[in-house]
């Protein structure tokens, strides 16, 4: 341990050092409010995320064994996902057609103009269930909008909007709740909650609803912000207590959040 100089000069220098340290960060923060500066920095950050994702995917590919039962199972899972997404599309289209037939005044509110956004940062803990994207209110993003990946899979909900960036709370986040429906023998409304890990939890499923493992869970659009029919995941386990008013179910996500760097932000229906 070095000997400290207890002089006012030492204290003054310490204060100046800290002041400069904080000053540079403050200046940088202020500069981030300037659109062109924020744009350059976000491009750099998006590049870093892409490099990290590439390295991560390589690590996963190298460390995962090939031609084993597990890899074959993964292939089957991928096929199930693909079929599940097609099934969701089919159900959504069927419903859309029936609604069109029901009313001539129907206007298609599900084809809102989406905004493509790049992931520029992820939370280190919380299983990276909070991500920062490079689009904000200046690009037309609003709170509660759905972030979608792949072919209509719900990635998360816009939880915070700033001028040049937004925070997306992934479905797996422990604070995330999404009104959902189970596509099975009937249309059941429930609430999907994140649990911080890979599994989601669906609550408030009526006891008389006939659902089973492997059923597809999609958004119900009940909250008015997220359009209906976006894929959330597959039911992996049912929790049924006969005396309880509702059933619960565990939902498995259809994607690995870490692997996605580009998302589509869909505005709430009607906007």
């Amino acid at each position: 341990m070095p000997k400290f100089r207890q002089s006012s000069e030492g204290l003054r220098r310490a204060i100046i050092s800290v002041g400069i340290f904080l000053g540079v960060i403050t200046i940088f923060w202020v500069c981030l409010q300037i659109p062109w500066f924020a744009n350059i920095f976000q491009r750099v950050e998006a590049g870093i995320v892409r490099v990290g994702t590439g390295i991560g995917n390589t690590i996963v590919r190298v460390t995962s064994p090939e031609e084993t039962t597990a890899s074959k199972f993964s292939q089957c899972e991928a096929e199930v996902r693909s079929l599940a997404i097609e099934s969701a599309d089919y159900e959504a289209l069927k419903r859309e057609v029936s609604e069109l037939r029901a009313t001539l005044a129907y206007t298609d509110s599900t084809d809102g103009q989406g905004v493509v956004a790049q992931v520029i940062a992820r939370a280190v803990d919380d299983d990276a269930t909070l991500v920062l994207v490079d689009k904000g209110s200046t690009s037309g993003l609003v709170l509660g909008s759905a972030a979608v990946i792949d072919n209509g899979v719900l990635y998360g909900i816009v939880a915070e909007v700033r001028s040049n960036s937004s925070v997306i709370r992934l479905v797996a986040n422990s604070n995330a709740t999404v009104p959902a429906a189970v596509l099975g023998k009937g249309r059941t409304i429930g609430l999907v909650e994140g649990r911080g890990g890979a599994l989601l939890f669906m609550d408030f499923i009526p006891q008389d609803a006939e659902i089973g493992t492997g059923n597809l869970v999609v958004t119900s659009g009940l909250d008015g912000f997220v359009r209906q029919g976006l894929v959330i995941g597959l039911v992996t386990e049912l929790v049924t207590v006969p005396s309880a008013p509702f059933k619960q179910a565990y939902i498995e996500l259809l994607y690995e959040p870490r692997e996605w760097t580009t998302v589509l932000i869909l505005p709430p229906p009607g906007l």
Binding site: I20, I55, R122, V124, D125, A128, L132, R195
Partner: protein, 179 residues
């Protein structure tokens, strides 16, 4: 003075790498707290004050960007614990002392974060998976110590280089934490 400005730029770069590159890696690598590792070595090797401010600002910046709640409190707590450890427990500037500070600082960060999450779960409907949190927290502590052990030599060498480059020996001890 110049080094303070350079270190603040280094903090910005470190945080961009942590939240961009490291957070995109699979578990357990994703949990590696790069900024904390650099902050601990900075605190041990360069200046207690700068190191403490680094640790505080790590949490503040990450929370201000919306990448997690309670990070500012956890960062401030870990900075306080690090200052106490470096002054009263691991007073020698040895490599083993550095590892001890790393373990204590990261553990205090994790405990502060758990406390905040517990508090938030009590006042809101938020559910927490405690076993999941414990696993993540302990992994983070282990990665911090491992990170200091593995990268400590290189970061120390860089800090010593920058210290010799920009700061005189006299100035070095002047900006340490006054007792």
């Amino acid at each position: 003075m110049i080094t303070s400005g350079l270190y603040s730029l280094l903090l910005i770069i470190t945080l961009a790498v942590q939240a961009g590159l490291i957070a995109s890696l699979p578990l357990p690598f994703r949990l590696f707290p790069l900024a904390m590792v650099v902050g601990i070595i900075l605190l041990h090797e360069r200046s207690v004050v700068l190191g403490a401010v680094w640790l505080i600002m790590t949490g503040v910046v990450l929370e201000a960007r919306g990448l997690g709640g309670g990070l500012a409190i956890a960062g401030a707590t870990s900075a306080l614990v690090a200052v106490l450890l470096v002054n009263f427990v691991f007073a020698k500037r040895s490599f083993w002392a550095l590892l001890g500070i790393a373990a204590g600082t990261s553990l205090s960060f994790v405990l502060a974060r758990w406390s905040w999450l517990l508090f938030m779960s009590m006042i809101t409907d938020q559910t927490i998976q405690f076993d999941h949190l414990v696993r993540q927290g302990l992994t983070m502590v282990a990665l911090t110590v491992a990170g200091v052990f593995i990268f400590g030599m290189y970061i120390r060498r860089f800090i010593r280089w920058s210290r010799n480059k920009f700061v005189s020996k006299e100035q070095l001890y002047d900006i340490s934490f006054p007792q």
